[in-house]
Amino acid sequence: MAGAAEQTLLAAATPDGRPNVRPDSPFEFQLMVHTDMGPGGVRRGVRFGPPQPGAQNASSCRAMQRSATADLAPRTGRSLATICMFDNRAIALGRSLQILTDRIWRTGPVASRAKSSYPCDLMAYPQSGLTEDVKLVHLAKPVKPTTRSRRDNLRIEDNVMTESLRPDLLRQVWEYPLFDALYGRRSRRFGLGFEMVEGPTPYKSQHVVYLIDKTTSPALKMQTAVTPDDRKTVLDLYRESRRELQPGRLGIPRRVPPLCGHNLWDSNMPGSALFMPVCDVSLSLIAPSAIRGSPSWRVPGRGQRPHTVSTGAPSLLYRVHRAGSHLPQHVPCNGSYGPRRLDALRIPVAGNL
């Protein structure tokens, strides 16, 4: 759907105009932003895929395909808002991919940025990204491989990905089921090449550090973690544990506070189900105190040096004494902003525990 006016903003645009081709790069990846300005509208989209400039079937994400082929309405404020939404999605997706791949090389032919071809009314919306194409340029800068560890036996180059990014990888990430993500969570996310030296499950990986799995998608394997029978059990457990506190809809005052102004229009409205997780802070404070005061507790990451009650208790009590004249650490206290914020929240300016 990209027409003759398509502009490749990031694929090859280097500050000095030279193509930044890395034939020796471990893998190749390309981020392209296309715009197509017609007489009555704006067509815009982002395409991810292997470095094949001009290839129309390289899109690897369904949503990106749609945005790439979206023929928006005439340039009204409404359509511009839509464009902003697309741009935010593109930026967020780009950042995710940057994390995923750790490096994004700019490849392909030289292309001009041609700011002059942007419609005038788009210039009034800097958040759209259309007027500041440099906002996305940082995604195209090559990132040096980092070890992320000081282990002596780290051989990071052994398993560096040598193939191009699979076109369907992004689709798999995008369509990964929510419940698989929920029930696939583990408190210990043990990585290839890692070593856990403390706790009840010490383990040393038999692998070297791995940047990207080049052949298989772990997501597909994780789908077997929860069987359909398990799902039914979870649902039954939820229904058995559910207790009705009050009949009817909760009468939350529809004002600010307690609600935020931008949620007044839809929060807790008829037809909605509202989930409100309540944390037990008293429990959360008591349990760590007991752990730190126990003889067997050791400072995480510092080997076998114990913190027994003889040193832990005075430390805790000292913090309590200090707390009387200090704000909680998480509260910003620059100038008078902190105390006023506390006063607004009706939280006593007292403790530090």
């Binding site: 839509t82 307690p258 037809g271 009650v309 009706r346």
Partner: protein, 183 residues
């Protein structure tokens, strides 16, 4: 995801108990829901010592079985190792730790008249809300097919039947309005 950054009024409508330390109403904080979700602090416990005991005594190694059940039924923990092996590697909850915790908690309660001293005993900040989407809204402001996934498609028939049944329809291009109903 919605935000209720000042949640005391929400706790009130939830019928949570609010305790005002030293009679200062402005410092009242939710401590629990009677009989259902009670905090580890007064008034649900006479003293902080009792609250600490209630929470931590079951975690003492002496309070737990020292061997796996003889009938072969494993405890509901997701480990291949035995429960005894797992507990051996965990931090031991000791009587010294209990005493230290009681000293700290009593100091906080005696000094500030409440526990915890600086934050509420119950914390509620973020809401998660689920509701059926009105696809016609997106059809009016977005190109056809945008923001359209299999999940939306699965609900499309249901949504339109629901809207048609209660008589709330809007022609394409009409001003955007929030159509709310509760069936």
């Amino acid at each position: 995801m919605h935000c209720g950054f000042l949640s005391r009024e929400i706790f009130e409508v939830l019928w949570f108990r609010l305790e005002a330390p030293n009679g200062v109403a402005a410092l009242a904080h939710p401590v629990g829901l009677d009989g259902i979700f009670e905090g580890y602090c007064p008034p649900y416990f006479a003293t902080m010592d009792a609250a600490v005991d209630a929470l931590l005594t079951p975690l003492l190694r002496t309070s737990r079985p020292t061997a796996d059940p003889s009938d072969g039924k494993r405890p509901p923990v997701p480990y291949l190792m035995t429960d005894a092996e797992r507990r051996e590697g965990c931090v031991e909850m000791s009587p010294e730790g209990l005493a230290c915790t009681k000293a700290v908690c009593n100091y906080i309660f005696d000094t500030y008249g409440r526990f915890p001293g600086a934050v509420d005993a119950r914390h509620l900040m973020w809401f998660l809300q689920a509701h059926h989407l009105d696809i016609s809204y997106y059809d009016r402001i977005l190109p056809t097919g945008c923001l359209w996934t299999d999940a939306y498609r699965a609900h499309e028939e249901f949504s339109w039947l629901r809207v048609a049944r209660i008589g709330l329809t809007a022609p394409r291009g009409a001003p955007i309005s929030h159509l709310q109903t509760d069936t």
